[in-house]
């Protein structure tokens, strides 16, 4: 059940350049699924900011979200501290439907601030006994985060655009070298990366998660839409029908 709550910040730390990890307490935490997001109100800002869920601790009734400073709203969010309260709508959107999938080996492909939801997904996959391989892309060394956490899930490869960390290049370069021993891939990141990944893995089954400027975040305003591949005269709402879609379901510009 989607609801609006005032949640306490348990920790708020910087984990990479302009990138912050926030832990919040909510009784709803155990209902959050990988791929879903929360929608955060900030005083002085008309619109909420969507932030994806990076991890959940169901026993402690907490969840973790990670965001990067993109503009005034996220800069404001970066100034919060442990003990402060946040006005949050949760849970929002669809999730990676792993409960319905039969798979033995999953490939996770994340880019920048698209990496966080894949961590919670990877943890759940590993718990189900699925082998997890992760390919993560960042702009440069200063922006890399969660490498060790992903290494605990399985083989993890890092690419940076400028070569300052890991392999120089793009996630698609690493995917080419890995070949395709996996049954499903799961990807989240900037649209150009998602387009390159879905083109490269066109013959594989996969799910992607999209980002877009949002209005309401719950499906009423039709601000964040994406055209369908099968019929570009129709579209889906990213906030409600997504953010997770089948890899070949939507048309990436």
């Amino acid at each position: 059940m989607i609801t609006k709550q005032s949640l306490e910040i348990l920790s708020h730390i910087q984990i990479a350049e302009e990138t912050f990890e926030v832990v919040l307490r909510s009784a709803l935490s155990k209902e959050l699924k990988p791929g879903q997001f929360v929608h955060i109100a900030l005083p002085g800002h008309m619109l909420r900011r969507p932030v994806s869920i990076a991890n959940v601790d169901p026993e402690a009734e907490t969840f973790t979200m990670i965001f990067k400073i993109f503009g005034e709203g996220t800069r404001h969010l970066s100034k919060y501290q442990a003990g402060d309260k946040l006005d949050v709508i949760l849970p929002c959107g669809t999730h990676y439907p792993i409960e319905n999938l039969k798979l033995e080996h999953a490939l996770l492909v994340g880019g920048g601030i698209g990496v966080p939801p894949l961590y919670y997904l990877g943890k759940q996959l590993k718990d189900k006994g699925v082998k997890v391989t992760s390919v993560l892309g960042f702009q440069s060394a200063s922006q890399v985060f969660y490498e060790e956490k992903f290494q605990q899930l399985g083989d993890t490869f890092i690419a940076t655009n400028d070569g300052s960390y890991g392999q120089k290049g793009f996630v698609t370069d690493i995917i080419s070298e890995l070949g395709s021993p996996f049954d499903y891939y799961f990807s989240c990141g900037p649209t150009p990366m998602l387009k390159a990944v879905t083109d490269q893995l066109a013959d594989k089954k996969g799910y992607i998660s999209l980002e877009e400027r949002m209005g309401c975040g719950v499906g009423t305003c039709y601000a964040c839409v994406v055209p369908l591949k099968a019929d570009p005269t129709k579209n889906k709402k990213i906030c409600k029908d997504g953010p997770v879609f089948l890899a070949n379901e939507v048309s990436l510009a």
Partner: protein
């Protein structure tokens, strides 16, 4: 304390209703609260055929407001009647259908089609959408066209017709008089103001449609001024006021300017519970400022000379 309001076709428990385009067809916000609490619901615009809407980005945040250029995305009037409106039957809340079109013929077709539905109580005639290439705001800025479309829709529709006025005009009372003269049962005002925001890094408008409609508290003083002017010119016409309402004090300000009821738009996006919160606050605010009912406050912000 009485919050009830009676307007043509609309018997309202209270004067608060979500504005068209900010509430979809009610389903999403029904997860947050019981829609029976609302005075009425104005659902998203219906056109003759399904519309895809504009490319994205469709929204941008501004100081005290937002720009949107959704472009009237909707499944078309027939699908709205069969797939969307029946969900709202479970509530004892009047539904106002917002209708839009590119031509007078399309408006008439949508109005006639809605006669088949028993689920609505009134029509809001949207002659003021700034975000579509054809029609839309054209009808809302030319008094002759506004008169023509109002006259035709009135003739076609079995329901009371509230005409939604555009603020993108030099003289709002000219427009109000034109549509009231053509038979409008009431007015709904104001729609959004055309605006633009440019991204410094990309050196391009943020919104794909380039321009968008500005809404939110940024436009509230304009809405108040326009309602005040129209109330001066037309003392009896029913007015549903809207434009940046965020709390019960804002509602009282609209009533004082001359609105009989109000719609809450952009604020729903910031706070999904805003309508019931305002409804709960309203009696206290009315009594704090010396009113015993909503109807008593209407138009009381006008200075009476002599």
């Amino acid at each position: 304390m009485s919050l009830t309001v009676n307007l043509p076709g609309l018997s309202l428990k209270n004067p608060i209703m979500p504005a068209s385009g900010c509430f979809g067809f009610g389903k999403e916000y029904s997860q947050f609260y019981d829609l029976n609490q609302l005075g009425a619901i104005i659902v998203k615009a219906a056109t003759g055929e399904a519309r895809y809407g504009n490319p994205t980005p469709r929204v941008a945040e501004t100081s005290s407001g937002m720009l949107n250029a959704i472009g009237l995305q909707n499944p078309g009037v027939e699908k709205i009647i069969t797939d969307e409106l029946p969900f709202l039957r479970q509530y004892h809340t009047p539904i106002i259908a917002n209708i839009a079109g590119s031509t007078v013929e399309e408006y008439v077709k949508v109005a006639k089609t809605l006669n088949q539905s028993q689920d609505i109580a009134a029509i809001e005639l949207n002659i003021s959408c700034p975000n579509v290439k054809e029609g839309g705001v054209q009808f809302g800025t030319d008094p002759e066209l506004a008169k023509q479309v109002t006259d035709q829709v009135k003739e076609a529709s079995d329901y009371p017709v509230y005409v939604k006025l555009s603020p993108n005009v030099t003289n709002i009372t000219t427009m109000a008089k034109a549509v009231v003269g053509a038979g409008a049962d009431g007015l709904s005002m104001i729609n959004t103001l055309t605006g633009m925001q440019i991204n410094l890094k990309k050196r391009a408008p943020v919104i794909a449609n380039k321009t968008g409609g500005l809404s939110g508290p940024a436009i509230k003083p304009i809405a108040i001024r326009m309602i005040y002017e129209v109330r001066q010119a037309l003392s009896n016409v029913p007015i549903i006021g809207m434009g940046g309402i965020m709390n019960a004090e804002d509602v009282l300000e609209f009533l004082l300017a001359g609105a009989n009821a109000v719609a809450v738009g952009t604020a729903n996006f910031q706070n999904p519970n805003i309508c019931p919160e305002i409804i709960a606050e309203l009696p206290g605010i009315l009594s704090r400022y010396g009113f015993e009912s909503v109807e008593e406050a209407v138009g009381k912000g006008h200075i009476i000379h002599g």
